[in-house]
C-alpha cells in the first residue's frame, strides 16, 4: 500500500528520512531548508525518535555523529552558511567512518547570499570542503518524488559504506510541490555488523569495516586522529596514515560502479548535455519539444563519486554541454575525463535555465 500526496520537496525529504528509519535529527533551521527541520520536529517524537534544535551548525553535525554512534540513523539539514560551518566535523565523520546523512538545500552564495533563491554552488565544497584527503557520496534529486526516494537511498549508502552521504538538493526542488507516492514501508539496508574476531576498524576486501555502535557489546575507541585497526591513535607512522586514508578514499572510489545512478538518453548523439538536479528538467523539456537523436543527455543522480565511465558511453560525442546553477563546478570533473570540448552553461542569480536559453546554447555549440 502507499499514499499519494501533493507535497513540498523538503517535506518529502523528511518523509523519506522517516521511512528510512531515521530517528535522530540535530539541526539549526535555515532558509531554504527549514521545512525539513519543522517536519522532523513534528514527526520524530511521535515515531520514537529525537529532534534537537541545536545552538548552531557545528553542534548540529556533532550531535548527528554522536547519535549515529548509538546505532540510529541520523541526519541534519542546512544550506550554504550552515554547510560551511559543518565542514570540520564532516571530516571527522569521514575519518571515524560514521554513517550519517547531510541534506544541503542549496541557495545562492557566497556568504549569506540569496537565502530564497536556488543554486548548485556547493558541489565542490561537499566533496572537498573539509581538510585532508577523503571521499564522500553526493546525490542530486530533480523532483519531489526523488526528494523522497533519494533520501532513502542516501541512508542506505551511508550505512553500506560507513561514510557521510550528502543530499545536494536546492531551493527549486526543496520548495516546489508535486505529486509524490509514499509507500507504507521501504526496504532498507543497514551497515554490516562487526564480525566477532575483527578489530573495530579492520576492513574486508570492500574496505568497509563492520559497524559496532556503542552499546552493542564491543569496546570501540573513536578518534579523528590517524588510528590503527583497533581505533587507537597512531599519528606519526607514515605507513599507518597512508594505509588508513587510502582505504577511506578507496572504499568509495573503487565502488563507483556500484554507487553510480544515472540516466542516458540517445547514446549515439554528437552533442551531449550533462546535468544533475533541476537543470536536467530543462534539458528533458528541450529534448521533448524538439526530438533529435543527435542530442544526447547524461543525467546524474549520484555526482560523487563521479561516474566518469558514463561519459564514455557516448561514443560519437563531439561536444559536451553542462548547464549548472553555479559558475562552472562539476564541469571541471567532466573536462578532466574526456578529450572533447566541454562547454559550461553557467547560470547564477537564482533562476533555473529556461528551455529557450538551452536551445540558444545548443545552436551556438553544436
Amino acid at each position: 500500500m502507499s499514499r499519494v500526496e501533493f507535497m513540498q520537496g523538503n517535506v518529502a525529504c523528511a518523509e523519506g528520512a522517516l521511512a528510512a528509519g531515521c530517528r535522530f535529527f540535530g539541526g539549526y533551521p535555515i532558509t531554504p531548508s527549514t521545512e525539513i527541520a519543522e517536519t522532523m520536529a513534528r514527526r520524530l517524537p511521535k515515531a520514537g525518535g529525537v529532534f534537537i534544535s541545536m545552538e548552531d551548525e557545528l553542534a548540529s553535525i556533532a550531535a548527528v555523529i554522536g547519535a549515529a554512534w548509538t546505532g540510529v540513523r541520523a541526519m541534519t539539514a542546512t544550506s550554504g552558511p550552515g554547510f560551511s560551518l559543518m565542514m570540520e566535523n564532516i571530516g571527522y565523520a569521514a575519518m571515524t567512518e560514521t554513517p550519517c546523512v547531510i541534506v544541503n538545500i542549496q541557495r545562492g552564495g557566497p556568504s549569506t547570499g540569496q537565502p530564497t533563491r536556488a543554486a548548485q554552488g556547493d558541489m565542490l565544497q561537499c566533496r572537498f570542503g573539509s581538510h585532508g584527503d577523503y571521499s564522500i557520496i553526493a546525490i542530486t534529486p530533480n523532483s519531489v518524488q526523488e526528494m523522497f526516494d533519494l533520501t532513502v537511498k542516501a541512508f542506505d549508502l551511508a550505512d553500506r559504506f560507513r561514510v557521510p552521504t550528502f543530499l545536494m538538493a536546492d531551493e527549486i526542488v526543496g520548495h516546489m510541490r508535486e505529486r509524490v507516492t509514499i509507500p507504507d514501508t521501504v526496504e532498507i539496508t543497514r551497515s554490516g555488523p562487526l564480525a566477532g574476531g575483527s578489530l573495530p576498524f579492520e576492513a574486508g576486501d570492500d574496505g568497509v569495516p563492520g559497524f559496532a555502535p556503542f552499546g552493542t557489546g564491543r569496546s570501540v575507541h573513536v578518534t579523528g586522529l590517524t588510528h590503527d585497526e583497533r581505533g587507537y591513535p597512531d599519528t606519526t607512522d607514515p605507513e599507518a596514515h597512508d594505509k588508513l586514508v587510502r582505504r577511506l578514499v578507496a572504499k568509495v572510489e573503487s565502488a563507483r560502479r556500484e554507487i553510480a545512478d544515472y540516466e542516458i538518453t540517445n547514446p549515439d548523439a554528437e552533442t551531449v548535455f550533462v546535468t544533475y538536479g533541476p537543470p536536467s528538467r530543462t534539458v528533458e523539456q528541450v529534448m521533448r519539444d524538439r526530438p533529435d537523436e543527435s542530442i544526447g543527455h547524461l543525467r546524474l543522480r549520484v555526482v560523487w563519486p563521479f561516474p566518469e565511465f558514463a561519459l564514455q558511453e557516448f561514443r560519437n560525442a563531439r561536444v559536451f554541454l553542462m548547464p549548472e546553477l553555479n559558475m562552472g563546478q562539476m564541469v571541471r570533473e567532466v573536462q578532466r575525463h574526456v578529450d572533447q570540448p566541454v562547454i559550461s552553461i553557467a547560470k547564477i542569480g537564482g533562476e533555473l535555465h529556461t528551455p529557450a536559453e538551452l536551445v540558444r546554447a545548443l545552436e551556438a555549440h553544436r
Partner: protein
C-alpha cells in the same frame, strides 16, 4: 495542454494556499500533472504575494512558470508587480474592489472579497470564492477536484463555510465571466 496559472495579492489573503489547492486538485483529483511554486522573500509579508501552478496532461519537465495564460489577481500591487505584463491572449480573474487597473487581455471581475465579507460573513474565504470562479470560468480544473482539494486543505470545523464560498465562486465564474 500546458497551462500556467499565476495568483497574486497581498500577504494574508491566502494566495499561496490558493495555488497549493489548485495544484493539489489537478494532481490528485483531475488525473493531471501539476507543479506549484511560489516567490519566497521577506517582501511577501503584507506586500505583494505570488504563487503559481503549472498544469499539464503530460508529465511536467520544465517546472517553472514563464508566461502564464491564466491570472488570478487580488490586489492592485499584485497587479502591478505580477499581472501588468499579461500577454494579450491570457485570461485574468480580478477582484474588482481591490484592483483598480484593467489588463489588455480578456478579464473577468469577480467580487470575491465583497461576497466573502457580506453574504458569506468571513473575509478570509475570499480566496476560496476566487478559486471557485477560476474553475468554472476557465475549466482549468474540475469542480469535483477543486472541492475535494479545498476539503483537504482547510482547517477542521470550517468545511461548510469554505464549501459555501467555493460554490458561490462557481456561480460567479459561470455568470459573470465570459473568458
Amino acid at each position: 495542454m500546458r497551462h500556467e496559472v499565476r495568483f497574486s495579492g497581498y500577504g494574508g489573503q491566502g494566495i499561496i494556499l490558493s495555488a497549493v489547492i489548485l495544484g493539489r486538485a489537478a494532481a490528485l483529483y483531475d488525473d493531471k500533472y501539476a507543479v506549484q511554486t511560489q516567490v519566497y522573500g521577506p517582501e511577501a509579508r503584507g506586500g505583494a504575494s505570488m504563487g503559481q501552478v503549472v498544469i499539464d496532461d503530460a508529465q511536467i519537465l520544465y517546472p517553472e512558470v514563464t508566461d502564464p495564460d491564466i491570472y488570478v489577481i487580488m490586489s492592485q500591487q499584485g497587479f502591478e508587480k505580477y499581472g501588468v505584463r499579461a500577454r494579450e491572449d491570457a485570461a485574468m480573474l480580478l477582484d474588482a474592489d481591490l484592483v483598480r487597473s484593467r489588463p489588455i487581455c480578456r478579464y473577468c471581475e469577480v467580487p470575491a472579497t465583497a461576497e466573502a465579507k457580506g453574504p458569506l460573513g468571513r473575509e478570509i474565504v475570499a480566496n476560496i470564492v476566487m478559486i471557485g470562479a477560476l474553475s468554472t470560468a476557465t475549466g482549468v480544473v474540475s469542480r469535483e477536484a477543486i472541492e475535494r482539494a479545498v476539503l483537504d486543505s482547510v482547517p477542521k470545523g470550517t468545511e461548510n463555510l469554505n464549501i459555501k464560498a467555493l460554490k458561490r465562486g462557481f456561480e460567479l465564474g459561470e455568470r459573470a465571466c465570459n473568458l
